[in-house]
Symmetry: C2
Subunit: 471 residues, 2 copies
């Protein structure tokens, strides 16, 4: 069956049965049902529990899914593993259109037999199944949230264009928490666990046509269908970027992952070569996943490797120039025309060559003058502004100026702004206006490099998708 | 003269003249004087201003330093560059024991002539001079703070053992802000600017005997006396670690720094070789300066490269194993005895091999059992705990358990805990109890590697200073 075409029911059900719903707040089914209620899910909710008697969380409960009167689009299953196959069978008989099996206790502990039954039932009823052993999905637009983690443990993100897909539930919840904390906007979260049915290939095939998904962040350890994965990845990255943190990329790590991805086993270098060929961006760790996600989320594309550096802190310009060099980027050389213009606006002590150190007393006027010149200079492909908010001249007007130029220029622009509370307040202003902000020149340069590689890939493979900007 | 022996007066003056003190809050001299007052400096404060008339900030002001009745230990000078030499000359005549020249406008803008006069006056009067073009010093124990940046722009740190030295004022204030924000304890901050008199060598010679300084973080672009610097560095690192972020380490960056350090010019690889020879730890950027500073601040030393990984999130264990491998570290193999003990305490689904994934429902009891075994295992040199506070079982009891074992074990221990608000609260608990907490396995592994390299250096050079632990 075309799994990916049926998958949409996981995110947009009109009715949901929660099998394992419970009055007991310690039960996973309780938290999941509470989430559906708290999120303001607009469809019907049917709690199902073999011991049900009356109502669960104020909603009429059923002992069996077959006892529900109307149709059921989605079943979320959170009961002991041994009981899952028969519950899924009942779902099939009832005509349920899709299921999420949250329960663990399948192939991850050697119970391949139980898991194979899920696969078989799914196929027999042409019913897409996510999991088992997963956190399920989150889609803030349709108000679906099957995470069984309370919001005090895990911040929920705002709505946006980033879809995060994770094989591991633990990495999934942690990165989702980081995504929220960093102020990313989320399109969808998909935790697919053991992938008894829906796997990496199905997910990408589904997401390629998902209009809300602008970029995909991915944590994976193994790929079940390597060749098909690379084929869909190749098509996908022509349209939108995929950043993958692949666990088990070293011999030791691979052993730790009990990886079944023989076809892809090898060194980080080998992975990089394969990833590059298919336009995939490889992140080295969860933090890099977010660094790269941040710059891709702007949907900017770049045309070359010449980076202009503008700063109010000379030492940081030196570190930034080192960082460009270490990442194979170049310091831009401004045109004579640009340098002449800069001289008019900068005090005499400022050397108008790159990297442009505007001195510690630079204020918004000086930042504005510099950005005005640099953003129009044909010798500049990308802009790195290092704005130290600790210095006397830097305040919220500088942040506002950077936000203004972010929307003025087509050139990709990142801001480096390390520091404490005062800096953080301004960083949040800028981040929420779509500026990628980094805590060091190195992380900013690595991210610009990732953007350059992806932009060149898209360009070279002949399908240029312009640098549409999204606010 | 033995500059470093006279330097202490910069940090422990009994009386301070602030030359350029002013009623005008926009003036640097105003902010510096306000700082001395706000910090509760216990000595005498003499505002000096050529236009003074009566009192400045409520304190009796003087038109000339010569007019002050008693002796003056330290002069902080914040007046236009042209006027600095004659003011410094007056300080010399008055018998002032040391001076900090905050003012800019010297060699950094080509006025070598003005700067040479400072050097000459300093020598003639045997008067140590810090600067010009610097932020001066901060020493919270003696309540000295010459930073002309208000506390709302730049958080002030708590008292501790980290001394941060910066050539660049901008990097200085930014990293100081990061140090405060990350909860480091500060011994001293020294911004030395153009180094007309006091340079890197003097500073290290002074700090080697400073009991409050347990580790040194350093930002530098050039070294004036390369050979002497390396000689004092070699002696220094036998006793306490130095982490250096060196700007201008690439050909392009070096050009940006207008570096005069021809003797040290070369690739990052060449620097690494030289640094390694003298026991210096090289940080690649300001963020790495803090990552490494964090682990050195524990004063732990390690005896080998075998790292035990304990986690409640399997995917993170895979990433962590990759990170160990990428940093030349090894995953520890527990003894049979340890594995047997672990089996008693872990649920049957947990595989007690390294990396130890205790499953997503691991609580403090399980963390305690694992740490108890691992901390005593002779096959384990270092411990990396990846504690995902997003998971159902992790709460403040887990943090308390980690804090307990930090004080129980002699083995270096780091915690990886990425995430949002709930995680951050626990991270602060742990950090303030002396546990280095990282946001990713990669940054943790890089830091363990830095600790290993330094520990081995100290051991191999035959002067073992035991792993005294400081809370």
């Amino acid at each position: 069956m075309n799994m990916h075409k049926r998958m949409d029911i996981l995110f947009n059900p009109k009715s949901v049965a929660i099998i394992g719903a419970s009055q007991n707040p310690d039960k996973v089914g309780h938290v999941i049902m509470q989430n559906y209620l708290d999120m303001g899910f607009s469809g019907s909710i049917y709690p199902v529990n073999i011991n049900a008697d009356g109502r669960i969380l104020g909603v009429k409960a059923y002992r069996k899914i077959g006892a529900i009167d109307g149709g059921v689009d989605l079943a979320v299953i959170a009961i002991p593993a041994e009981l899952v196959p028969s519950a899924l069978e009942e779902c099939g008989r009832k005509g349920v259109k899709g299921a999420i099996v949250v329960s663990g206790g399948f192939s991850e502990i050697g119970r391949d037999d139980l898991q194979d039954r899920l696969t078989e039932i799914s196929e027999r009823y042409s019913m897409p199944v996510l999991g088992p052993n997963c956190l399920g999905v989150m889609d803030l637009r349709s108000r679906v949230d099957t995470m069984f983690l309370p919001t005090f443990k895990l911040d929920r993100p705002k709505i946006g264009g980033v879809t995060f897909v994770s094989q591991s539930g633990a990495v999934g919840s942690t990165v989702l928490d980081m995504i929220s904390h960093e102020g990313f906007g989320l399109a969808k979260f998909i935790s697919y666990g053991n992938a008894a049915v829906i796997d990496e290939v199905d997910i990408l095939k589904y997401l390629i046509d998902d209009e809300n998904t602008k970029i995909v962040l991915f944590y994976m350890e193994g790929v079940r269908r390597g060749r098909e994965f690379m084929e869909i990845a190749r098509r996908f990255t022509q349209i939108k970027p995929i950043v993958i943190a692949k666990g088990g990329i070293t011999p030791e790590g691979s052993k730790a992952a009990h990886s079944h991805t023989a076809a892809l086993a090898g060194s980080a270098g080998a992975y990089d070569a394969v990833f590059k060929q298919f336009g995939l961006t490889r992140a080295n760790d969860v933090d890099e996943l977010l660094y790269f996600g941040k710059i891709f989320d702007t949907e900017a594309r770049c045309t070359g490797k010449r980076v202009a550096i503008i700063t109010n802190g000379g030492g940081m310009a030196v570190l930034a120039t080192d960082a460009l060099y270490n990442n194979g980027l170049e310091l831009a050389s401004l045109t004579k025309e640009s340098e002449k213009k800069l001289k008019r606006f900068m005090p005499p002590i400022v050397n108008v060559r790159m990297p442009l150190d505007m001195a510690g007393d630079a204020d918004d006027i000086r930042f504005k003058a510099a950005l005005d010149v640099v953003s129009k200079d044909p010798n500049v492909d990308m802009i790195m502004v290092i704005s130290l908010f600790q210095t006397p001249g830097a305040d919220s007007r500088v942040a506002a100026t950077l936000i203004h130029y972010k929307s003025e220029t087509e050139k990709p622009m990142v801001v480096v702004s390390p520091g404490g509370n005062y800096a953080q307040v301004h960083n949040q202003m800028m981040e929420s206006s779509g500026i990628p902000v980094y805590a060091s020149p190195s992380t900013a340069a690595r991210s610009l490099r990732a953007l350059l590689d992806y932009s060149e890939y898209v360009r070279l493979t002949g399908e240029i998708y312009g640098s549409k900007k999204r606010r």
